[in-house]
Each structure stands twice: as C-alpha cells, then as structure tokens.
C-alpha cells in the first residue's frame, strides 16, 4: 500500500519513525524547533519530542555541528541540519577533521553515528551562496558517507538508513524536490546505503545521476525514446559508498555512458565516476564518457543566467545524441 507524499513529508515521516524508535536520536540546527525548519520538515516535532531532542541553535554552524560530533562520541545519534549545504564550509572543521576522521584516528574506538542534513541544488534563484552542489567536496573525505535521493520514497528509506548508520552521513536534499508529491509506501522500510537503483531500463546508453537531475534524465529519456533511443537511467542514490557493481552491470549492457550532475564541472564527483569508468571499463565502452554538469562559474541570481548554469533535459538529450552519434 502506498499514498502520495511530498519529498519533505517523506523525510519528515522517516525521521519521525526513527525518533519514536530510538530516544538517542536528537535534532539540532537553526530554526528546527518552533519554526519546524525552513522547509517545514520538522513541523510539530518540538511539541512531540520536547526541547532536549529538538534543539534550536544560535547561528553557529561550526559550534553546533562540532557539538553533535561530541554527542555522537558519547553514543547519541544526532541529526544536525545545515539550512543550506552552502553553509557547510562554515562548519568544515567538525565535518571533515573531526566527524570524518575520529574513528580512524582513535584506532576504531569512536563511532560517529551522525546525520548532517543539508538542502542543496540550483534553480531557486538564490544566488551564489544558497544554490551550490558541493557533493564532490564531501565525497573527497574518507570517513564520510554521502546520500542524495531523487524521489520521496527513496528519501524516506534512505534517511532511515542514514540515521541507523554508525558513520557520519551527509544527506543532501534537493530544494526543488521538497514540494514534489510521489507514491510512498506505507510500511516501515529502509533502503540500504550504497545501493543504486535503475529508475528506467534501457539498452543503448546509461545515464548515471543523482538528486533532481535523475528527474531531468528521465525526461530526457522519454524524449529520446520518441526517436527510438533506449536509455537506462541509473540513480546512484548513495554517492559514498558507490554502488560500483550496479555501474558495471549497466555499462556492460549499454556500452555508453553520460554522467549528469548539477555540480561545477571542474573537480566534480561526476568527473570521478567518469574517470573510474574510463580506467576500469574502457573495453566495454563504444565511446568516451561524457559529463553533463554545471558551468565553472558562480551560481547567478538572474533567472536568465541561472538557467544557463545547470543541466536541463534538452542538454542531456544533446549529450546522449553526441555520445551515440545519432
């Protein structure tokens, strides 16, 4: 059985179920209490769980993120929210020097069972400091796991897995997905981290993507199908750990790859995936892997400018045609 839920309500439901199940889980962040977070994910949580478990913070990202690391070292399971992933650089020390490395540096003594929720993504006319996709930064640091769901159903199952995971998980939520209503199963389910999902089966080319760009890839695939091009859309869902087996299976079937993301192209995680495929699956490829990403520029405010700065379905269509020479 399923019903229609928005992406934000699906995340809310997943966190709610986990908080009821485990009283070591607490929420921390700016405006998460009475306001219920700026995207309404936590509405009603303060009343239900109380101020010890739903903690409104001052605007001190480094401080409260670091405190969550300390609490996690004591066996708590914090879910910390950064209002936008663009604010993560303010909290870079606790994320990359403390949370990511604590298990290793202590020789395995500490677990950091902590989730950092961070809205990300372009297209909302929020300009340079509220519109970034910096997943490659998080993927760079050993010790972090990185998740970026594309559907409401996946978001619910993955947030539950992230909360149950014993490592720090960066959970990236695309802002333009929050209001999207989709089928979400009613039963209590968890989607394991590190499992990609084929969102559309096809035989001619594999589009690898995550987050909102999966939706664009599916639109592009529908357009291409009209001219007889059969595209497979592989939604990574989890960037670290990477489901390499799923990539291998798909590439062996289609022999052509386009990687799509909203990141700045230079230094992108799309580039990392492209490199791994080139290194290890070269013999399976009929053509070089192509990346469809954002430009190497700053996220602009003007709609005219911003629309130039992230991939649209028609950009993906063009890239697929180039790779297939069709």
């Amino acid at each position: 059985m399923s019903r229609m839920l928005t992406f934000s309500k699906a995340i809310r439901e997943g966190i709610h179920e986990e908080m009821v199940r485990d009283d070591k889980i607490f929420l921390m962040g700016e405006d998460v209490g009475k306001f219920g977070n700026v995207f309404g994910v936590y509405q009603g949580f303060l009343e239900e769980f109380g101020k010890n478990r739903v903690i409104d913070t001052p605007i001190s990202e480094e401080g409260f993120t670091g405190m969550c690391v300390g609490a996690a070292m004591r066996g708590m399971r914090p879910v910390v929210e950064l209002m936008y992933n663009d604010f993560a650089p303010v909290a870079m020390d606790p994320i990359v020097n403390q949370a990511a490395k604590m298990r290793y540096m202590s020789g395995g003594q500490f677990s950091i069972p902590m989730v950092i929720r961070a809205p990300f993504g372009t297209g909302r006319r929020n300009a340079g400091q509220h519109s970034q996709c910096i997943e490659s930064v998080f993927c760079h640091f050993a010790g972090l796991k990185v998740v970026a769901p594309s559907t409401a159903a996946d978001a619910k199952g993955l947030i539950k897995a992230a909360i149950r995971d014993n490592d720090p998980v960066i959970f990236l939520e695309h802002k333009l997905l929050y209001a999207k209503k989709e089928e979400v199963p009613e039963d209590d389910y968890v989607i394991p981290l590190g499992k990609a999902d084929v969102k559309r089966e096809g035989k001619d080319l594999t589009i690898i993507s995550w987050g909102r760009q999966v939706q664009f890839a599916l639109e592009a695939a529908a357009t291409l199908a009209e001219s007889g091009i059969d595209v497979e859309v592989l939604d990574l869902r989890t960037l670290v750990p990477l489901d390499w087996d799923a990539i291998v299976a798909s590439v062996k079937k289609t022999n052509n790859v386009v990687v799509v993301s909203e990141e700045i192209k230079r230094g992108s995680y799309a580039g990392e995936i492209s490199a791994q495929i080139a290194e290890e699956l070269f013999d399976e490829l009929d053509a070089p892997v192509e990346r469809v990403c954002g430009l190497n520029t700053v996220s602009p405010f003007s709609a005219v400018l911003e629309d130039r700065n992230f991939p649209h379905p028609e950009d993906i269509v063009k890239a697929v045609r180039r790779v297939l020479n069709k």
């Binding site: 480094e62 409260f64 004591r74 298990r103 202590s106």
Partner: protein, 331 residues
C-alpha cells in the same frame, strides 16, 4: 597555607602525577631527539600542575578532551604510559593502534578521554557536545575541555561557550594559558592577556589561578565541577602556566625573551611541591622513591614500545568506516 587541608598521601599523589608527566615528556623528548619517534610531539614540560590538579578534581567517569599538548592531561586522567608511549612510537599496541600518534591519543572506555586533537580548539565543541549528551541522557558526568590561550581566539570557542551558558551545560573550560600561541605572544594578538575575562561576555563564572600550584588548580576545578554537577552550568578556569620547551620538540623558541623561561623555572610546579612535601614532614627518601618509580615506569614503557609490533600494513584502510571499509575505501 592551603596545603594543610591535605594529608601527606594526597600531597604525594599530586607530586607523583606531576613527576610521571615530567618523566614521560623528558623521555619522549629524548627518544625524539635520538630519532626513535617520527612526526612531531608537543611537550607540556612546565605545565604539569595544570593537568595533575585538574584531573584530580574529576571523577573517573567524567569526560575530558585534550589538546595537541596533551600527554600530561592523559596521564593525569589515568593513562597507561605504556600504551601512550607505544602510540608515540606508532605501534600496534598504542591506544590508537598507531593510527593517531601523539596528537590523537584517546581512550573512550577506560579513561573517558574523548581524545587529544590536532586542530587548535578542536576539543571545545566536542566537550560541549559531550556535556549536551549528559543532559539529554540524564547522566551526571561532567565534561572538561583543556584548551590553550591560542584556542581562545578561535571562533568556535565563542560559539560553544555561548551555547553552554545558554543551556546550562555541565562543562568546564580549562584554559592552559602559557602565554604563547606557537610563537605568537598572546598580548600581541589579543586585547586582554586575561582569558578568564571572556567569561563576562557569556555571563558565566570564571577564575584565574596560578597554574604552577597544583593545589590551587585542583581547588578551582573542584569548585567548577561542583557547579556543573549541581546543574549550575559551565565555568571558565584559566591557569597561568609556562611552556618550558618551544611549540614542538626541537623548536628552540628564539621568539621568547629569556626571562620567560627563568620566570617559569623559578615557579616550577614540581620544585614547589617538593618544598610543600618536606614542610609537611615527608622524607626526601619518599620523594626520591616517587622519582625512581617514575623513571622505572618510563624505562618499561619505552622498552614495551620498542618491543611492540608495527601495525600490519593492511590496517591502512581499516577503521575508516564502521563496516563496508573494503568497498567504501576502494571507490
């Protein structure tokens, strides 16, 4: 004379902790100079009383975070010098199995040490979060953060002290003010040389004590711990002390006037404590026995470290994640 409040066994225990710290640091320096240790070590010679007095005022279940200059803090909390020295040697038998080294010694279960930290001020948020965990889970442990005068200029200091004050968290901010952030004198980069004054901004109590007097430190931390346990929130305790060595072992510290070291040595915490012990009727032979035991302990710790195996090279990619190391590390 506050000393009369203590029986001789207690006074000897304070001295013993300081003597063990001094011996550990002196012998670590010796090993480093001889090329037996790699990397960097930061010695707390001169600051022994701060660690010894502080940890004596804590319960075994209380939590601490240590600094990069943290060997003494770990010993004072009850650290096993064998496992500490083995960690400095990068051996499998060290506290962190050779993965952390001098700047990351931690003992989650035994010492309730949430670790030393290589980032100056890195422990401030961790200790404050530990205090938050105590409030949420309803235990009565106190969390104490060692930090230096240098760390008090990190933004995170102000962020977490503000939160701890606002939420009344059971945390103690223990500043070891040795006057220098690496080579930079505190007064050249800060408008006050009195770190305790910063407590006023967050409306929490603070005090400045002579960090060369182990009993003064002990009593100040005891007051702070009592406040924390009574639910009265955080305290900032500033201990004025001296860093006898440079920033790291081998740093000749040409940036300091020679008066700094002379002043420190004149107030040496161990010398001061020997006088207190003798004044209280403890025999010189008892003091010598403590020194000899510390020397023997470190002989054993160094031999243990030399004899211990290196980590297996395959361990380079373990402990990155709780599970899933193989896949997550390869990709």
């Amino acid at each position: 004379m506050s000393e009369k409040k203590y029986d001789n066994e207690t006074l000897k225990a304070f001295y013993q902790t300081m003597a063990r710290i001094r011996e550990f640091e002196s012998r670590a320096a010796d090993c480093f100079t001889k090329g037996m240790l790699a990397g960097n070590i930061h010695l707390c010679l001169g600051q022994e009383a701060v660690a010894a007095g502080t940890c004596a005022a804590l319960e075994p279940e209380d939590y601490i975070t240590c600094t990069h200059r943290g060997h003494g803090q770990c010993i004072a909390k009850g650290g096993d010098t064998k496992k500490m020295m083995a960690e400095l040697f990068g051996k499998e038998t060290g506290y962190c199995h050779g993965k952390g080294g001098s700047m990351h010694i931690a003992d989650a279960q035994g010492l309730h040490s949430l670790g030393a930290n290589g980032i100056v001020g890195g422990g401030l948020a961790i200790a404050t979060g530990s205090a938050l965990a105590s409030v949420i889970s309803g235990d009565h442990h106190v969390s104490l953060c060692f930090f230096g005068d240098g760390a008090s200029n990190q933004g995170v200091f102000h962020e977490v002290v503000n939160m701890a004050a606002t939420w009344n968290l059971p945390v103690i901010y223990l500043c070891e003010n040795n006057g220098y952030a690496v080579s930079t004198p505190i007064h050249t980069v800060t408008h006050t040389t009195n770190i305790a004054a910063r407590a006023k901004a967050y409306d929490i109590p603070s005090e400045t004590v002579d960090g060369m007097d182990v009993l003064a430190v002990y009593e100040a931390v005891q007051r702070a711990a009592n406040r924390a346990r009574e639910g009265k929130g955080p305290t900032l305790v500033e201990c004025l002390t001296y860093r006898y060595q440079g920033h790291y072992c081998g740093d000749p510290a040409p940036y300091r006037p020679k008066e700094y070291l002379e002043e420190g040595m004149a107030h040496d915490a161990l010398k001061h404590m020997v006088k207190v012990l003798l004044d209280n009727g403890v025999k010189q032979s008892e003091i010598d026995a403590i020194d000899a035991a510390a020397k023997k302990e470190l002989d054993d710790a160094i031999q243990f470290s030399i004899d211990s195996p290196d980590p297996d090279p395959s361990e380079v990619t373990t402990d990155v994640y709780a599970d899933d190391n193989e896949r997550s590390v390869v990709r």
